[in-house]
């Protein structure tokens, strides 16, 4: 029952916002609901009790509305509900059109994402998977920046293409289930699919997740979309929606097509490692700050994919931890990037410089977040990336060597970007830049506390998914 409450709070609040319309009520109400949801989620994590909710839905097609969770879902749920208060807060004090509709869409996204992470039925999972896309599409289309018409279109078609293949996979698995066909994950996990089938089914299922994450070469929608999106849009996309792909892969691929994974393991790892290097190099060459962060996000995600496919406990633990730390870091990074754009009026690094002289506090916070992003020890990024690379090392030293480039190249391009933006001589056009305000502190300080706190004491996160870790590994073998 508590799961249903968590699922419904955002969407119901969102619907009620449509009736209020007043900005002064809409924003605090949306924020309050997300904070309440976060508290309930924390309660759920602190007092772990097996909770589930099942309601029969379309019986003749084996579809039920069943919610439940395990360690992996819980991590993703925590990430979602942790980030959304900040995403909503990012809208405060800003000029926005149709605030009530925007907040409604954001909250619907949240509900859909929660649904994705809690669904115990593949069909339900798919419905939420698609539902998450639709509000985001409109957030990007209506509140996005230049070129939004074409870019959102590409994004939408691209992701839906992947989803439809996933749908094919779900139906294919459905008709394999014995007796009265069903789409429950539990039934899918029992299937013993012949190796030959698994090999092609792997790609049918994986392509949706690969596009969402994104894995090289399915990434072309991502950088322009991130660049064009509004602050809140990109925070949702980069912070949470990329994790849908990772979660989906863990939930679908590992139990259902283990042989397919073994067969394609090296292909996917190589693709991801190409993604790591490719994205890092491009990030270095980019002078658009948001593009740079987008490519850096792709590099980090690619490393996570590589870690996912080496199939050992180290890598998987690192992956799940990194899911949280990447989410927190990237949200902070994109918020800062938008802040810089707001204050300076440009996002091109070549036109920036010397912002530190004008806004020292912003520069300091930016530095901390950048350090978190390049996985300096004592930040959350370090814990995750260290574990992942340690795990990849067990598979092959060469993979680990290339994977380690994420950190090295990351340090190069992030610090270089920092240097170009913040340091150097003061530009004349930036005379009137003010330092960051109270609202920005409210968003950035908690995120930075998380980045540092989890870097120093990561145990609470590990405790969440500890029980499920062994089970996943056992299944994969």
């Amino acid at each position: 029952m508590i799961l249903l409450i968590i699922l419904l709070i955002p969407i119901l609040t969102g619907l009620s916002l449509l009736f209020f319309r007043k900005t002064a009520i809409v924003r605090p109400l949306a924020l309050a609901s997300s904070v309440v949801n976060l508290l309930i989620t924390l309660g759920l994590i602190l007092s772990p009790s097996a909770s589930s909710y099942t309601q029969s839905w379309i019986n003749f097609m084996g579809i039920s509305f069943s919610l439940g969770f395990d360690g992996i879902s819980l991590v993703m749920l925590l990430l979602t509900n942790l980030l959304f208060p900040f995403i909503l807060l990012a809208g405060f004090n800003r000029e926005q059109r149709n605030v009530h509709i925007l907040n409604f869409l954001i909250l619907s996204t949240q509900s859909a994402l929660i649904g994705v992470f809690l669904a115990q039925n593949a069909f339900l999972f798919y419905i939420f998977w698609e539902l998450a896309l639709i509000p985001v599409y409109f957030i990007l289309l209506i509140w996005g920046g230049d070129g939004r018409r074409t870019i959102t279109f590409k994004f939408f078609i691209y992701t839906l293409t992947g989803s439809l293949f996933l749908l094919f996979g779900i139906i294919y698995l459905y008709q394999l289930t014995p007796g009265m066909h069903t789409t429950d994950f539990a039934a899918f996990n029992q299937l013993k699919i012949p190796a030959g089938t698994q090999n092609w089914l792997f790609w049918i299922l994986f392509i949706a997740f690969a596009i969402k994450m994104p894995v090289f070469p399915f990434h072309t929608w991502q950088p322009p979309t991130y660049n064009m999106a509004s602050t809140q849009g990109v925070m949702i996309l980069a912070g949470v929606m990329t994790k849908m792909g990772i979660y989906g892969a863990l939930r679908f691929l590992f139990p259902v097509v283990p042989l397919g994974i073994q067969y394609w393991q090296n292909t996917v790892i190589v693709l991801s490692l190409i993604g790591v290097v490719y994205a890092s190099v491009i990030a270095f060459r980019k002078s658009n700050l948001k593009m740079l962060i987008a490519f850096s996000s792709m590099a980090h995600i690619s490393l996570m994919v590589a870690a996912m496919f080496v199939l050992n406990t180290f890598a998987l633990q690192g992956l799940l931890f990194q899911a949280i730390s990447h989410g927190v870091t990237i949200v902070a990074l994109f918020y800062l990037a938008s802040l810089i754009k707001e204050k300076t009026g440009t996002i091109e690094l070549s036109q920036m410089g010397g912002i530190k002289l004008q806004a020292p506090n912003m520069a300091l916070l930016f530095l901390i977040v950048v350090l978190g992003s390049i996985a300096l020890p004592l930040t959350a990024g370090f814990v995750g990336e260290f574990l992942m690379i340690a795990g990849i090392f067990e598979q092959s030293i060469w993979y680990a060597a290339v994977g380690g480039l994420t950190m090295i190249l990351g340090a190069i391009y992030m610090l270089y970007a920092y240097q170009r933006a913040m340091l150097g001589d003061k530009k004349k056009v930036f005379e009137k830049i003010t330092d960051i305000g109270t609202l920005d502190y409210l968003i950035l300080i908690p995120l930075i506390v998380l980045i540092l706190g989890l870097g120093i004491y990561p145990q609470p996160i590990f405790n969440i998914f500890k029980p499920v870790m062994e089970a996943v590994i056992a299944m994969a073998h």
Binding site: M61, E130, F156, F165, I171, Q175
Partner: protein, 457 residues
């Protein structure tokens, strides 16, 4: 049967009401009559009554399809209240012809004899030839009518030729007997029967606008008065597929291999031409014509899957497709008026700014057409894929999925226009009835997607 008789009488009543010179009474009378017909149809549920030496069989299949067509007709007639207000047509004739066409559609769902199928198709088609030319002084409308008539009669001739050939070989028009006759050859039909069956299939494929017999549909959809276009793309399509399915199920299955291959090629072509044709359209009516062809492809996929629940899936698909089509055309007419008579896609530009709630409903309808959850259009496509994949038809299903992606592309092309900023010069005037229709249909489209039904037919 009583519903069929009543509908024909209703048509005559409405026709004579035209003398009263009062346009306002026509729609209420027609709608009230259809409601009675609906009631009479429901009464027949489960009886399975046969008439005229078993030439007509009102089983649950035909009653379910009849009910769905009556409901859609009621919606179309309610749309007509506003639509005909500003037009100088002979409105009574329009309503009457549509009711006559509907009674033909009833025959097409309930035949068990090829002659009855032929009669049904003709009773449906002849009013449509007239209706397509409803705008007497419009060049496009006349062209549509003429084209439809020429091609339609040609298709009818081929169809009739096919019936004659089959009769010549089997000495019967009665479908169950034809089935036994075909079955005794174990898939190796004599050429006469093979050609006969092929011709029959071509005749029906023409009615549902399956490629390569689709060429009439974009031109006719574009030229015909919009209300008639709606009628053609909903009721006529439903009737066509009901007849197609019944023909296969009652008489022709299992098809000999060459014919089955032909139908599969037809399905693939229909999906391909429908979706690719729609990509480049700038005229909204033509776009929907091509999209209607592509939907035919999906329904054919369900039909050829030969699963025990194919019939109910086709019913669900055609019903929710019609339910989304009617309000979509209503919105189109509103925008056409506001833009001063244009029919291109750009008339939707700025709709979100001018009338946000209509924009939201149009988006829901487009999502349903494109097959995006949680709408019923998605559930329809999902059920089709469940049928086809569980019958082991993998490659065609993947092909259909690729085509569905193209479908999303052009439907969201419209959605993108809706959410583009643009100042509407003229106000968009929505009558209360039209608003109610849009809301009711859109809500139904969503609710039917959440509460999926499957009738035992």
């Amino acid at each position: 049967m009583s519903a069929l008789i009543f509908t024909i009488v209703l048509g005559i009543i409405v026709l004579y009401l035209g003398f009263a010179k009062n346009k306002a009474v026509l729609a209420p009378v027609a709608v009230a009559g259809l409601l009675i017909a609906l009631f009479l149809s429901i009464q027949d549920w489960g009886l399975g009554s046969k008439y005229f030496h078993d030439m007509i069989l009102f089983d649950n299949f035909s009653i379910a399809f009849n009910i769905s067509m009556i409901i859609i007709s009621i919606l179309i007639f309610l749309f007509g209240v506003d639509y005909y207000k500003t037009m100088e047509f002979h409105v009574a004739e329009h309503y009457a012809l549509m009711i006559f066409a509907l009674s033909g559609a009833f025959l097409m769902t309930s035949f068990s004899n090829l002659i009855m199928l032929f009669l049904g198709i003709e009773i449906l088609s002849i009013p449509l030839y007239v209706l397509a030319g409803g705008k007497k002084y419009s060049y496009r409308s006349n062209e549509a009518s003429f084209k439809y008539f020429m091609l339609g009669s040609f298709a009818t001739a081929i169809f009739l030729f096919g019936i004659a050939l089959v009769y010549g070989a089997s000495a019967t028009f009665y479908l169950p007997e034809i089935k036994i006759f075909i079955a005794q050859y174990h898939g190796h039909l004599p050429p006469m029967v093979l050609v006969g069956v092929l011709f029959i299939l071509i005749g029906v494929a023409f009615k549902v606008a399956a490629a390569p017999f689709h060429f009439w549909s974009p031109d006719v959809y574009e030229g015909a008065p919009t209300l008639v276009t709606v009628f053609m793309s909903t009721v006529v399509k439903t009737a066509g597929f009901a007849a197609f399915y019944r023909l296969l199920d009652m008489g022709l299955l299992p098809l000999p291999i060459p014919l089955e291959k032909a139908l599969w090629v037809m399905t693939g072509l229909t999906l391909f031409i429908g979706n690719l044709g729609a990509l480049k359209q700038t005229n909204f009516k033509r776009l929907l014509a091509y999209s209607s062809i592509s939907h035919s492809g999906f329904i054919m996929l369900a039909m050829l899957s030969q699963h025990s629940s194919s019939a109910s899936v086709i019913l669900y698909y055609t019903f929710v497709y019609s339910l989304a089509t009617v309000p979509m055309f209503i919105i189109f007419i509103l925008m056409k008026r506001a833009s001063g008579g244009h029919e291109e896609l750009f008339i939707f530009r700025g709709l979100f700014k001018a009338k946000p709630w209509i924009a939201v409903f149009l988006t829901i309808l487009m999502m349903s057409m494109a097959g995006i959850p949680p709408t019923s259009g998605f559930m329809a496509k999902y059920q089709v894929f469940v049928l086809s994949i569980s019958q082991g038809i993998l490659w065609t299903s993947i092909f259909a999925i690729l085509m569905a992606i193209i479908g999303i592309y052009y439907y969201f092309f419209v959605v993108r226009e809706v959410f583009t900023d643009h100042e509407q010069t003229n106000p968009i005037i929505v009558s209360k009835l039209n608003a109610a229709l849009i809301v009711v249909c859109s809500v139904a489209v969503v609710l039917l997607g959440i509460f999926v039904f499957r009738l035992p037919i």
